[in-house]
Structures are given as C-alpha cells and as structure tokens.
C-alpha cells in the first residue's frame, strides 16, 4: 500500500499579506509559512493508515520554493517515511500545470492512495486533487471526513453534506481530499524531529519529469488587488426613540434602502 500525500506550504493565517510591486504575487519578506491546515489532516490520515495496516509506505511531496523543505521536514518529523521536493524554480504555474507536475511525480513514486487537502488556504482554488485524479484517470472523493478500509483494494469514504453523510465505496487507487473532522492531527515528538533531521529529502526536477510547464498553463493570474476597505460601523446614540428616528433617517437618506 503506497500512500502519497501532497502538501503545500502557505502563509500563516495571521500573516500580513502585502502585494508585491508587479501586483502578481505577494511580498514574501516577513511572512511565516505553515503547512496548509487541510494538508495536516491528510498527513495524519496517512500516518493512521500506516499504523493500522502493516504493509503501508508513506511519502509526502510538495511543489514549491526551497523554503518548502521545512514543510517536508515537519511531515517527516510526524512519521512520514519519504519526502520529495519538486523545485518550482522560476516557472509561474497555475492549478492545472501544478497538478500535472504533481500527478507525474506521483506516477513516478507509485501510488495506491493519494491524499491532499480540500483546498489550500492561500488561493483557495480547491482544484488540485480533482485535476490529479482526472489526469491519472482514477476516482476522486473530495472533503472526506472518514476513510475506512474494506480490504487492500477498496475503501469507504465518508463526506458530510448539509444534513447528510455520504458514504462512497471506491476502488483503489484513488485521490481523496481531506476536510476538517477527518482526524485530530498529531504534534511531532522530539524523537521524530531528531530523526527527521537525519532523513534525506529527495528532489525531482520538473524537467526530469519530461514536462515543459509553459505548454501546460491554462490560466494566467494578471493582477492581485486589495479588497476595498470596509467602511466603519455606525453607532446611533440617544434614547430608544431618538435612536429609532436616527435609524429611519439614515436608512432613507444615506443608505437609501427605504
């Protein structure tokens, strides 16, 4: 059983995001990066499956800048056995091209189960898992909240939708994207961190996969903009009657809703 987890390093949710001067990306300085939180559920699930089945092998891959090694290192510290970095180099990629590269890498590593997060919290595309599955022509279940093994070739996947739980039975290999609630991610032990320091992170170059990303790009990001600032809330003072009068006046004259 080969499990491959795709993880992405994303800016911390608390980071101050500044658009760079070309307006095509964000300023990296001062940003702290974390593993995409949904990918942590995917990692945890891989570890749990490994602990349950005794023949499972786990690998983690990421496509990104050299700094994304930290994310891989953290995944190794949790207990994932193998880590692969696909350096993004200077390519400007979109969802399709990224997923294509990931799919090719997974093919090379061998796979029975591919796990990823439901979406990356930076650009929220929620596409990668689906595209990988299509490219590999295998089943995809998004937003999984529970994965059960029937046997080595079949799994049941639960996903929560408004008012229901859907349960899918699918044949492996497959791609599953993880949603909050799938599990409770663990915290790396120091033992794990120490062992991870000694492990080797292998690299697979985009060119070595026989890919020219330029030919794959289907969408192009042209500009990033800040949302328009929210205007300040208004507090109407005075007693009940006065405030009500002010409110009516405001709704009529300024907001022009009544």
């Amino acid at each position: 059983m080969k499990i491959v987890v795709c993880i992405k390093q994303v800016p911390d949710t608390e980071a101050y995001i500044k658009i760079n001067s070309q307006k095509t990306s964000i300023e990296e300085s001062g940003i702290k990066y974390i593993i995409n939180p949904y990918d942590e559920f995917a990692l945890e699930e891989a570890l749990r499956i490994k602990e349950k089945l005794n023949n499972a092998e786990t690998a983690v891959i990421t496509l990104g800048a050299p700094r994304t090694q930290e994310a891989l290192r953290s995944a190794l510290a949790l207990g994932i056995e193998k880590a692969v970095l696909i350096p993004q180099e200077d390519f400007i990629l979109d969802n399709f091209s990224s997923a294509f590269i990931l799919a090719k890498t997974v093919e090379r590593l061998g796979y029975d189960l591919i796990l990823c997060g439901k979406q990356a919290i930076d650009d929220d595309m929620a596409q990668t898992g689906g595209i990988i599955a299509s490219l590999l022509n295998i089943p995809f279940v998004s937003l999984a909240t529970k994965i059960e093994f029937i046997d080595n070739s079949q799994i049941k996947v639960h996903r929560e939708i408004e008012g229901f739980t859907e349960v899918f039975k699918i044949k492996l290999p497959a791609v599953i994207s993880a949603q909050k609630g799938l599990n409770e991610p663990r915290y790396a032990s120091l033992m794990g961190i120490m062992q991870a320091k000694k492990k080797i992170i292998s690299e697979i170059k985009i060119q070595d996969l026989g890919i020219n990303p330029e030919n794959l790009i289907k969408t192009k990001l042209t500009r990033l903009e800040y949302p328009s600032p929210r205007s300040q809330g208004k507090i109407l003072d005075g007693d009940l009657k006065e405030a009500a009068q002010k409110l009516v006046k405001f709704l009529r004259e300024e907001a022009k809703i009544i």
Partner: protein, 636 residues
C-alpha cells in the same frame, strides 16, 4: 559494682550475636533499598559544600523548615534530639556490657559524664512528651494531611517503649547499686524509690529482664527503621545535604543534543537525588496540604506522587518498567500548575514539582501525548511566537501613539513586555501605564517590538523543552545585539525565565520585575504619587514572583504608598499563596476536573471584603478577574 554481677562470657556471646544479627539485617535491608538510588542518572550536587554543611546545621539539626508548622515542629524536635542523645547512650550501655571499664570518649570523662546522664534523661522525657504530642495529633486532632498508618503507630509505640524501658532498667540498676558515682541520672534516682521495698533478688531479676527487653526493643527498632517510613531518619540528612541549591524557579536544563532520552519514563531517567528523595519523604503531607490541585479535588497529590513512586521503586527494583499509567497517571501529571507550593513547604526539600515536570517532558517530547489544547498553543508559539497565536507583526501595536523608540540598540533599559502585555487587551493597559511611567521619568528604555519572542515559559512548564529552547535561543541572540544593562519585565513568568533559566543557555542578564523597579523608584522619591486612593486592597501573590523569586514585600510597599486604605491579606498569602490556576501552561488548557482554582481564590478575595485586589502578574490578573466576574463582583 557490688551487686550486679558482670556479664558472663555466655551473655557476652549472646549479646554480640544479637547485635551482629540485627545489624546484618538492618544493613541488608538498607543496602537493598539504597542501592536502587545508584541506578539513577548523574546530578551535580557536590558543589557549594559550605552551604550544604550550613543546611545540615540549620535544617537538619536546627529543624528550621520543620518548625514552619509549630506543633509538629516542636514534637519532632523533641523526638529527634531525644533520639540522638539516646543513641549515644546506647553505645555507652553496650560498651559497659562488654568492658567493665568502658568509657565514652569525652562524654565518659568523670566530670562530664554525670551531666551527660542528666541530659539523656532530659531528652528522654522530651522524647516521651514528643510521642504523646504525636499520638494526640494523630488520634485527636487528625489533620487531613496525615494518614493514620500502622507504621506511624508502631514507631511511636516503639519509641515510647525504648525510652521507658531504658528508664526502668536504669532505675532498677540504681536501686541495686545506690552508687551515685555510677549514675547521677535524676530519673533513675527518683524512680528507684519505687523499688525500695523490693527484695534484692527480685530487683536483680527485674533489672536483668528489663535490660534484655530494652536491648531487644532497640535492636528491633533498628531493623524496623529501613523497613518503614522511618528510613527517613537515615535518608533525610543526606537528601537535605544534597538539596537543590540552584534557583527554585529554574527547571533542570535538558541537553537536547547530547541526551538520547527526554524526560522521565523509567526510574533510570531520574537522577540519583530524585530517587533518594523517594526514600526521604516523611509522609508529612505538607506538600499535599498546600497543593492547589489537591485542594480543588483534582486527581493530584504531590505526596501521593512521591509515595506511589517509592512503592513502585521497591516493587520494580532494578527491572525498570514504564511509570506513567502505573505509578502516576496522566491526569495527575497534567493537573500540576507548577505553583511550587510542594517544594516550598516540604520540610526536607523534596521537589515533587520537578519530578512531575520530567514526566511532562517525556509525554511531550517522546510520546507526543498531552492535552489537545496544547497543540494549538505550541503551534502558535512556533509560528507567531506567542501563545495567543496573534500575528507576530502585531506585537508592537500596543505601544501605538506612545512615541517610543522601539528596537533602539543603545538604550540602557530593555522593557521585555512579554506576550500578555503585548496581546491581551486588559494587560495592555498595564504595560501602557508602565511605559507612561518610564517616559515621564525620562528613563532611557526600549522595546524589542516584533523581534521579541515569547520567553518560553508556557512551553517549558508543559514539558516542551525543545520549543522552549528555540524561543529562548532566539531571545538570547536578540538580547546580545543590544547594549542594555538591565531587562525590565512586567510578567513574573518572563521574569523568572529570563532571570533564572536563560543562564542555562548562556544568557546572563540582569533582570528586574516592575514591582521591584517601581518600589525602588518610590523609595528613592523619584516616583511620587500625588493622590492616594482610599480603598482597602488585598494583594494576590503570584507564584513566580513570590515562591520562586522571594518577592513579597515590594508589591506591598507600592500598595501601601498607593492607598490610604488598609492592606488586608487573604487566607493564603506570602509563601502559602494560593495559585490563580493559570501557571504551568494551565492558562492554555481546560480545567475539567474538580473545582476551578481561580474561583476558589476569588472566594478568598471576597472574604477579605477589600474593594480592590491587586496583582503583579498578567495571568493572575486575568484569572482573578474571571473569577470575580463569575461571582458577579466588579473588577478593579
């Protein structure tokens, strides 16, 4: 000796055999127990010898800490000294049995000996009084901290028998000899009157019987010592001699590069001193009586931790098995607020807190098993360098519009605001006020702003030594780029960590807490208060300021300068202060078991009827306000 025949050869042989047999049993049991200590790790306890010798005099012979509880102190002092003097007299007794002309060195001198006998009688009586006081305490007053063990009763009866049998045989001897030169013992002289009408042979018979009975009780007692909690007779002086002389606020350093095992899972992960402590515990229960976790009905009693570990050590011997889940439960470990009451009040300097801390380290670093709320706290510390998880870039926002020269490497004072003062709304008011004071006095100070990281206390106290060391290292590196002479802190946790713990990692800085800083300014008349407030105030001692750093008076001096009202103390104050419940990373964990610690403390505040409760710690401030709010009382 006219009337008492000297010991026959046969008697001497019997006596010698009895002594040798009991000494062998005693030594064997003692060896069998104490050898386990050497299975522990190394500990640096051979430094500061003069101080250690002082400990022997002050705390062992002088009972300084035992006297913290007056009743127990007195009774123990009587029994302890009675024992020492009697032990010497037993050497005299046995020596005389073997050699007719035996004399104790120095004490046996004809001029001194009579006084020695008087002293012996005097201390014998004290010991009996001690025993009676102890029996009264155990069977009439029955404090909760003491359990009525059979052991304790046996020991008290044995002490009583040893002393009284000694008196009996001594007085019988006196009535036979009537030789004042041989015995000036006043007890013997007076008790001997009782036997005036007895026939000589009877007295002789009784004398011999009582002599042997006395001897057998002594030897029996000897064997019982290492078998019972009275092993502490032997282990306490040693444990006290080797006590921790480093700052009580510093947890032991863990070398993450060199060590292969982190924290304690097995007995072999503890130091020999930790294992010795298990044998030194007197079961007095003072630690338990002051433990906020125990007092709020959580599953932790520091006394139980020590005793269960001792029991387990004796059961496991040298085949070490995991302790967590067996001798100590996980919820016990996580109930500890690291308030330091147990070590503060232990009469023999045992540190249950540090043993619990080693278990936490093992759980976090090796097993990664801890209350799940801590995961978030750790992540927040890793990424944003504060337990709240607010973006690290926000750290300096609280000083907005105060016009301070942040990150000024030349300033002579560094105000290390800490996380609470930088991110928590209520505590920002405190740090802003402090900054205003500094500004008004034109102090040359600066802040680290976004270069500041959490001091690491929440990580260290919950066992995450790795995260702590990363944070500490980061701060130490930053500090070294600055030229300040002193660091000012407002949080007692930062204060303690920077002052007592950073030195373990090469960060030696002068650190001052704002309560001391302000009290000094007031004393020097540099800081003047224009108007006094009229309210009565009660002061809540923070664990990390008080017990761990001995700062009790400075905050009170400030209060007295601030208010014309009275300063009233709560039921628990100074070194007995009750924890607010937030220490030891508990601020970041849910308090699910037992009663809420902060509510219990708030009750004490309410009882003082004071209008203001003052605190010098941001965590305490938060907890006290929450506690009082829940009791529908307004904060101040």
């Amino acid at each position: 000796m006219d009337n008492i025949p000297p010991f026959s050869l046969l008697n001497k042989i019997i006596l010698l055999s009895l002594i040798l047999i009991s000494l062998s049993i005693f030594s064997y049991i003692l060896y069998d127990r104490l050898r386990l200590i050497f299975l522990g790790k190394k500990a640096k306890r051979f430094n500061k010898i003069p101080l250690r010798i002082k400990t022997l005099f002050l705390y062992v012979l002088g009972h300084k800490k035992v006297f913290a509880y007056a009743y127990s102190g007195i009774l123990h002092f009587f029994i302890f000294w009675g024992f020492i003097i009697l032990a010497v007299s037993y050497i005299d007794l046995l020596g005389k049995a073997f050699f007719l002309n035996f004399k104790l060195p120095i004490l046996g001198n004809n001029l001194i000996y009579p006084y020695f006998l008087d002293l012996r009688d005097f201390f014998g009586i004290l010991a009996i009084i001690g025993v009676i006081l102890a029996l009264m305490r155990r069977f009439i007053f029955k404090p909760e901290r003491l359990e009525n063990s059979k052991e304790a009763l046996i020991i008290l009866i044995l002490i009583f028998l040893v002393v009284s049998m000694g008196f009996l045989s001594e007085s019988l001897r006196y009535s036979l000899e009537k030789n004042p030169a041989n015995s000036l013992s006043f007890i013997a002289k007076n008790l001997a009157l009782l036997f005036n009408n007895f026939p000589k042979e009877k007295i002789l018979l009784y004398y011999e019987l009582s002599w042997w009975a006395h001897l057998i009780i002594i030897l029996g007692f000897l064997i019982y010592i290492p078998l019972s909690k009275h092993l502490h007779l032997i282990t306490c002086p040693i444990a006290e001699f080797f006590r921790n002389l480093d700052s009580p606020g510093a947890l032991p350093y863990l070398d993450l590069e060199k060590e292969e095992r982190f924290g304690a899972e097995l007995f072999s992960d503890f130091s020999w001193k930790d294992l010795l402590d298990l044998y030194a515990c007197t079961e007095c229960g003072r630690c338990q009586e002051n433990c906020p976790a125990y007092l709020t009905k959580k599953p932790l009693s520091p006394k139980k931790v020590i005793l269960n570990l001792k029991k387990e050590l004796l059961a496991q011997k040298e085949i070490f098995k995991p302790l967590i889940g067996k001798a100590v439960a996980e919820d016990e470990i996580w109930s500890c607020t690291t308030c330091g009451n147990c070590q503060e009040h232990c009469p023999v300097f045992i540190e249950p807190l540090n043993k619990i801390a080693e278990f936490k380290r093992h759980l976090v670093l090796t097993q990664s098993k801890f209350p799940k709320e801590l995961t978030l706290c750790y992540r927040n510390l890793e990424v944003n360098l504060n337990p709240w998880g607010i973006g690290y870039m926000e750290r300096e926002k609280f000083v907005h519009n105060l016009e301070i020269n942040i990150k000024n490497k030349e300033a002579s004072l560094l105000y290390f605001a800490g996380c609470a003062a930088s991110f928590d709304e209520r505590n920002k008011k405190v740090s802003r006020s402090l900054i205003k004071i500094l500004k008004s006095l034109e102090v040359d100070f600066t802040l680290l702003g976004t270069d500041e990281a959490c001091c690491g206390d929440p990580a260290r106290r919950t066992g995450n030594e790795y995260l702590y060391q990363n944070l500490a290292q980061k701060n130490i590196q930053t500090f070294k780029n600055y030229k300040f002479k002193k660091i000012l802190t407002s949080c007692p946790h930062c204060f303690n960590t920077l002052k007592n713990e950073y030195s373990q990692m090469g960060g030696n800085f002068e650190v001052i807490h704002h309560s001391v800083f302000l009290a000094d300014l007031i004393k020097e008349k540099k800081l003047k208060l224009f108007k006094k407030i009229p309210q009565t105030i009660t002061y809540h001692d923070s664990c990390y300021l008080g017990r761990f750093n001995n700062i009790y008076d400075h905050p009170r001096q400030i209060i007295q300068n601030l208010s014309s009202g009275k300063l009233v103390e709560m039921t628990h104050h100074h070194n007995k202060s009750f924890c607010c419940g937030a220490g030891g990373g508990k601020m970041w964990m849910e308090e699910l078991q037992g009663e809420k610690i902060y509510i219990k403390r708030a009750d004490e505040v309410v009882k003082t009827k004071s209008q203001i409760v003052a605190s010098a710690c941001p965590y305490c401030l938060t907890m006290m306000e929450d506690g009082l709010k829940e009791k529908n009382i307004d904060e101040r």
